[in-house]
């Protein structure tokens, strides 16, 4: 950590300028060696300077150089940022010169790691930066920036201070049993505080579910027997909304046909093969994939034909989706009604006609109301969305369960207090106030280069 690191902070090859960031105690002297203009070692902190990058007398690029001295910088170290012209060749050449002069390439996330290690940001903020960089929609960005401002940290800190209050009272009771006039914490007190802490944690989890919707979008699966109009529905939906063409991380085994936005929330529409039992090996793989997609789906659009009676295959699909959030979409509304809809228990039924786009709007409204999307739109984006943080909170909820069992079995408060302490510690690891080695390694290797 003694050395000076450098990397290209902007996406390579896109845009009119590229920024190369250098951080470390030699950053100013290293840049100074290849810079023609003012003597950067003598300029004031947080100033920007015009000049040229020179190698062996040859001008490489015309640049603006920002000099920021420790400690008021992103990493708390000396930082220099070189704004050069955006071409791949130029940018790479400048980086290469920096490396030749004593800097080394930054590892993924290393700038942020240094910011954390040097105490500029806490762990949750570090994670928020990682999320911020990855955010695609405006809502994702807002959640991340709130996290960066310390919303989550404050929430956790509040819970921890509640815990420490009751912990310290129980400990005073243990250490000074002979003092009868010190307030003695009762089982009831513990029950109450545990209930309130549990409620807060559950709320965080619930909010995080919403937050996940914001970040990851709804996994939406369209199913139906052949020729019922699945691709037409897909096309209609995609036509209506401007599709974002993107790969969704973590869903590589699903084929995302397209993504649409409803009320600012992503709907990732996933293609499925049929689910009928088959002896064909290739088809079998397809079927098992489809079943998995169904299992993981947040929303299922089950397509039926208005013009035909319900078949065995339809019934099978209805059975397989009965525990999921499902909308029955009845296509071919324009044709005569032969379907016996009373056989279907699901109340979420929408009639559409994929030829004329009739019913597409009502379908979107239905989705909105099923997931409270309009409400989500108005809320404050205060969620804790990071997977690691959520799993720690779930750990705390498990320990609370232990405490509840303990209370039932009349286990003494001094024992249950040990669990309270574990919750306090675990919450501490969320905001980096307790040491958790595994976490640090995991976290900082996930960061993208440049930040």
């Amino acid at each position: 950590m003694n050395d000076t690191i450098a990397s290209i902070a902007t996406t390579l090859g896109v845009g009119a300028i590229s920024i190369i960031r250098v951080s470390g105690k030699d950053s100013i002297s290293i840049v100074n060696k290849i810079f023609e203009g003012k003597d950067l070692e003598k300029v004031k902190s947080h100033t920007i300077h015009y000049g040229y990058i020179i190698a062996n007398g040859e001008t490489i690029d015309e640049v603006l150089v920002t000099v920021m001295r420790s400690p008021k910088t992103y990493t708390k170290e000396d930082i220099v940022e070189i704004n050069c012209h955006g071409g791949i060749a130029t940018t790479n050449k400048v980086l290469e010169l920096l490396l030749l002069n004593g800097a080394r390439t930054a590892l993924p996330g290393e700038f942020t790691k240094r910011a954390f290690l040097n105490g500029r940001i806490d762990l949750m903020q570090a994670e928020a930066i990682s999320d911020l960089i990855k955010s695609e929609t405006d809502k994702e960005r807002k959640v991340a920036i709130n996290s960066l401002k310390g919303y989550g940290s404050n929430l956790i800190k509040e819970l921890r201070s509640k815990l420490i209050n009751i912990i310290s009272n129980i400990e005073v009771n243990i250490d000074y049993p002979e003092y009868l006039d010190i307030y003695e914490v009762t089982t009831n007190d513990l029950k109450k505080s545990i209930a309130s802490i549990k409620l807060s944690l559950l709320k965080i989890i619930e909010e995080s579910e919403n937050g996940r919707l914001i970040q990851d979008g709804l996994k939406t699966v369209i199913i139906g027997r052949p020729n019922v109009g699945k691709s037409s529905l897909l096309n209609r939906l995609l036509e209506e909304e401007k599709a974002i063409v993107t790969d969704i991380p973590g869903t590589t085994r699903d084929i995302v046909e397209g993504t649409i936005l409803i009320s600012g929330i992503k709907l990732n529409i996933i293609d499925t093969a049929g689910i009928r039992e088959t002896n064909d090996t290739v088809e079998k793989i397809g079927v098992s994939k489809s079943l998995n997609a169904l299992l993981e789906a947040d929303l299922i659009l089950l397509l039926l034909n208005n013009n035909e009676k319900i078949t065995d295959e339809d019934l099978e699909l209805l059975e397989k989706t009965k525990d999921k959030k499902t909308i029955i979409v009845v296509n071919k509304k324009d044709l005569s009604k032969k379907i016996d809809i009373s056989k279907i228990k699901n109340q979420n039924i929408v009639y559409i006609d994929t030829l004329s786009s009739l019913g597409i709007e009502p379908l979107k409204e239905k989705i909105k109301s099923m997931f409270n999307l309009s409400l989500l739109d108005k809320t404050n984006y205060n969620y804790i969305t990071n997977v690691r943080q959520i799993s720690k909170i779930k750990e705390c909820l498990d320990i609370i369960k232990d405490i509840e069992v303990g209370l039932e079995n009349e286990i003494g408060l001094d024992m249950l207090e040990i669990d309270l302490k574990t919750i306090w510690e675990t919450l501490g690891t969320i905001i980096g106030e307790s040491y958790d080695e595994e976490l640090l390694d995991q976290l900082f290797s996930k960061f993208c280069v440049g930040k």
Partner: protein, 619 residues
């Protein structure tokens, strides 16, 4: 005359240290200001209590004397916290202030290899940062390979009452005037601490009829694991309770400026957890009353110790304060309360073995290290004695871990966090208190005591038998099953019906089923020692919690296993915050675990340090 070891000071630390050394066959000299004050209890007449009681058991497990000596000399014995779980049960004794020192002196005098000398030590003999003896006030020099300082409150002691300051230790004894200045000259950091003691009241001038009585337990108990109780339940002497009132508080508030503390006459820092009565009145203004205890000091004289009422007010105000208390309206004060200021070293300057970092072969224990309390002192004295002996024998020191003993917590706290006020052992300082129970101190530590040489073959065999019986009973309970047909057993146990056959082991996990009940209904026929039954019952009933605690302790172990080389240069690690770097340089932690406990060293510093250690390991 040359000794292998010299112990300076005959208090609780000094007694344990010199006994340990002499018992381990080192020719030892104990130097004390006054033989009459050996194992003296200048403050409260009690031993044990939460955390402290566990320390006494740990001393016993390792082969120290405090537990045995308390068993010989107490006036009352009581188990505290019995309504709470086993991890916080705590044995507490009212010790007789005459018998306790008398018995200890007897033991010291009958110990081979141990000589006692009355003198005041003035200076240390040090050459090339290594100690080789002490110099007395008389100018006489005595040589030894190791020296243990257990000077208590006597270093440059001043007695404070109101605005008066008089040099001297407790009981009007002479203080050690020059030793702390000479320690400073040798490069040690000296800090000033303060503590206080309440007034003593003449017993037959107290109206006990007005007061709440507190008796000893009606079960016979001992601190020591090896010896049977020698007292009678009915011979125990009661304590009494009284409270301060509005009038007391008024007197205190009116005269606050006359106290040494609030008059600005005190320089040393006193303990927060043991505040003077004026402190309590000032800090907890909304409290209508404060609880006080009247404890007998001895059956040989009349003093009653007024616990909770320590003060540094002048004598006339003390009279008024005491007479405002219920039951004490007409009482006679035999000894006035006073505060005492004394010099102590900075415990950050010692190693985990209690050896000084600056001067080799110099060990310190007790109040000189910034602690408070007889038990804390004795525990350190024992460890200093053990480690001085190991050093003499050229062996590695015995360093107990935080998950092994309160003693480990105590010393680790001192050498890692230091202390700015007299340090008291509290259960809340131990993160693994479920593992550090008073009932299993022998299981945790006796093996060490045996290895070191303080536990003889006979005591060790007794311990081995106990372990064997515990295993045997556990196996029996696991293998013996009750079937649902045996309804009468379930009925007798007064527990809910069972559906499948279930082992006695599982049955004991139910809150209402105890080993005692199983014995009564004849399901456990073999006779076991009470200690065995207790151990087995606790380990079954709290199995889940104990497992969790062990898991946590294992996490600690991982960090403890990452050693920090002695020659590490923290300046090489640029990304450690400067406050953390300073702290690390002072403390010189020996493991990453210890580093993580230094206040001012944050998790991020530990992360950086860990990365650095990995890198130099790979190089």
């Amino acid at each position: 005359m040359k000794y292998e070891a010299i112990v300076v000071g005959g208090g609780h630390a000094g007694c344990e240290a010199s006994l340990a050394l002499a018992r381990l066959n080192h020719k030892t000299l104990l130097i004390t200001g006054n033989i009459k004050n050996i194992a003296d209890m200048p403050c409260n007449p009690s031993i044990g209590g939460p955390a402290k009681g566990v320390l006494v058991r740990e001393i016993d497990a390792l082969g120290g004397e405090m537990g045995i000596n308390t068993d010989k000399s107490h006036l009352q014995l009581k188990m505290l916290n019995t309504k709470k779980g086993p991890a916080v049960h705590a044995l507490r004794a009212q010790a007789d202030k005459i018998t306790y020192p008398k018995e200890m002196l007897k033991t010291l005098r009958s110990t081979k290899n141990l000589e006692i000398k009355e003198a005041i030590v003035d200076d240390l003999l040090v050459k090339d940062k290594k100690i080789y003896g002490v110099k007395l006030e008389s100018g006489e020099e005595i040589q030894a390979d190791v020296v243990i300082l257990t000077t208590g409150t006597y270093l440059k002691a001043d007695i404070l009452v109101g605005s008066s300051r008089t040099p001297g230790g407790p009981h009007g004894e002479k203080e050690a005037k020059n030793l702390s200045d000479n320690l400073r000259k040798l490069g040690l950091t000296i800090q000033r601490l303060k503590t206080g003691t309440p007034p003593r009241i003449k017993k037959d001038t107290i109206d006990f009829s007005e007061l709440e009585r507190e008796d000893g337990d009606n079960v016979l108990r001992t601190f020591s694991y090896d010896f049977s109780p020698i007292y009678k339940i009915e011979d125990q002497i009661p304590c009494y309770l009284t409270y301060t009132n509005e009038k007391t508080h008024e007197i205190i508030r009116e005269n606050l400026k006359k106290s040494s503390m609030y008059g600005g006459y005190v320089r040393g820092i006193g303990p927060r957890y043991c505040p003077s009565i004026e402190d309590k009145v000032v800090r907890f203004q909304d409290k209508e009353r404060h609880q006080l205890f009247l404890e007998p000091e001895s059956i040989y004289y009349d003093d009653i110790y007024l616990q909770g009422f320590s003060t540094s007010m002048p004598h006339d105000i003390q009279e008024k304060m005491v007479h405002s208390l219920k039951g004490l309206e007409k009482c006679e004060i035999l000894k006035y309360a006073y505060a005492i200021e004394y010099d102590a070293i900075d415990p950050l300057e010692m190693k985990s073995s209690l050896e000084n970092k600056i001067i080799e072969n110099l060990f310190t224990a007790g109040q000189i290290n910034g602690t408070s309390g007889y038990e804390e002192a004795a525990a350190q004295g024992l460890m200093a004695g053990i480690n001085a002996s190991l050093k003499l024998r050229g062996l590695e020191p015995l360093i107990l871990k935080r998950n092994e003993a309160y003693l480990g917590v105590l010393i680790d706290d001192l050498v890692t966090k230091g202390t700015k006020e007299p340090y008291r052992m509290l259960t809340s300082r131990a993160e693994y208190r479920l593992l550090l129970r008073h009932d299993n101190a022998d299981i945790r530590l006796r093996e060490y005591g045996y290895q070191v040489g303080l536990i003889d073959e006979k005591r060790y065999q007794k311990f081995q038998t106990k372990l064997k019986n515990i295993k045997e009973l556990e196996t029996y309970l696991r293998e013996t099953k009750i079937s649902p047909i045996e309804k009468e057993i379930i009925e007798k146990l007064d527990t809910s019906p069972i559906l499948d056959a279930i082992s006695l082991y599982e049955l004991i996990k139910r809150p209402e089923v105890t080993i005692d009940k199983l014995k009564k209904i004849g399901k456990i026929k073999k006779e076991y020692d009470a200690q065995v039954l207790e151990q087995v019952e606790i380990s079954i009933k709290y199995e889940g919690y104990i497992k969790k605690a062990l898991k946590e302790a294992n996490k600690l172990k991982e960090l403890e296993n990452i050693k920090i080389p002695e020659n590490i240069n923290y300046n090489d690690i640029s990304n450690i915050a400067s406050e953390a770097r300073q702290k690390l340089e002072i403390v010189k932690p020996i493991t990453l675990g210890q580093a993580s406990r230094i206040s001012g060293v944050n998790p991020s510093d530990i992360a950086v340090l860990n990365i650095y250690l990995k890198r130099i390991k790979n190089d």
